[in-house]
Point group: C2
Chain length 206, copies 2
């Protein structure tokens, strides 16, 4: 696909509170940035706007930071209302995403990528002006309904990697197992490693 | 692919204990059977052996039940040791699987389908006699290592649907959201429905 834009919402300070007390506030911030870098890597070659809660250096040529102190849905809907260029919205906490996933998202209408727990981790809109986003709660079902109401062709991308948003300590195990570059390296650098519980994997700090 | 066999391990009584106290023992058994039916439906047309802990009626023409009172890994490895026919091993608690997933699994060597938490929810073996299974704990990484040690081409199937094994009450939400036929109908029939917590979906009983 020739011209595609991408928007990546990003919260830095006060993000990922469910990873406390496993990670300190500074570590959560550093880890959030590492996950963002993995996500941005998958979007290489695409013009990316990071909708951030505060200024920071993305350290990434193809991404520029735009401040967004407002409600995410309102901001995104204001952004896409007049946008006709095919656009991706990709969450910043899905570090297992790879470049080929992004290509799989391209479609003739709307592509939704379900998160665990009923969320939506990414959306592709061929014509953003015809869609409306509604994140939070069971956003996946809400987005399915919006696409159907508006008569937009709907593709659902079935991906474990993209369904994995990292919110809770147990999610860190997925990062260590599947090992996306920056976020896995960061966790290892602070001594986080896999541990084997009774019936499911967890993480511990060495 | 012409001739393919499938093996589905199935535990009935005493299964899914982490769904207690949300579901009673009888309900857990009925729900396990409903999930199995969804899995068997995806394997339509394939000769399926259900490795079961006790006799029961699979109500399914293409699946026969074989009793397995022994260790799962030992039984599976004994089974595949002399088997040259392409074979699938599919867990019985992944009701979101569909027929097209099964076709996606076919490959020239080994296909692994990662579960959340480091497990393996399904395996395809082009030549089972060249492989060895090692379920439990981080079986995904163990299976990757076995395929690599034995020089077998490895495909990893990235699927949210197939990664979703239903073990805990919160997993029931995935069944209600993505709605595989038999298991979703069963949960609804006993009054299980989605509930909206603070930041993530759960389930409740009406």
């Amino acid at each position: 696909m020739r011209a595609v834009k991408a928007v990546v919402p990003f919260k830095m300070r006060g993000a990922k509170t469910r990873l406390a007390p496993f990670l300190s506030p500074d570590e959560r911030m550093a880890f959030s940035k590492a996950m963002l870098r993995d996500v941005l890597h998958s979007l290489k070659g695409i013009e990316v706007t990071i909708l951030a809660t505060e200024e920071f250096d993305s350290e990434c040529d193809w991404a520029h930071v735009r401040l967004n102190p407002h409600d995410l849905n309102a901001t995104l809907n204001e952004y896409i209302r007049r946008e006709r260029t095919p656009t991706l919205i990709v969450m910043s906490d899905i570090p297992l995403i790879q470049e080929w996933h992004v290509h799989e998202m391209y479609s003739d209408g709307i592509t939704l990528v379900p998160a665990r727990g009923g969320g939506t981790n990414a959306i592709f809109m061929r014509d953003p002006s015809r869609f409306k986003v509604d994140f939070y709660e069971v956003s996946f079902l809400k987005h399915v309904a919006i696409a159907n109401e508006r008569g937009l062709p709907l593709k659902i991308l079935d991906s474990f990697c993209m369904s994995t948003d990292v919110d809770k300590p147990e999610d860190l195990a997925e990062v260590l197992i599947h090992c996306p570059k920056h976020s896995c390296a960061y966790l290892r650098s602070i001594g986080v490693r896999l541990s084997y519980g009774k019936s499911r994997m967890g993480v511990e700090r060495g």
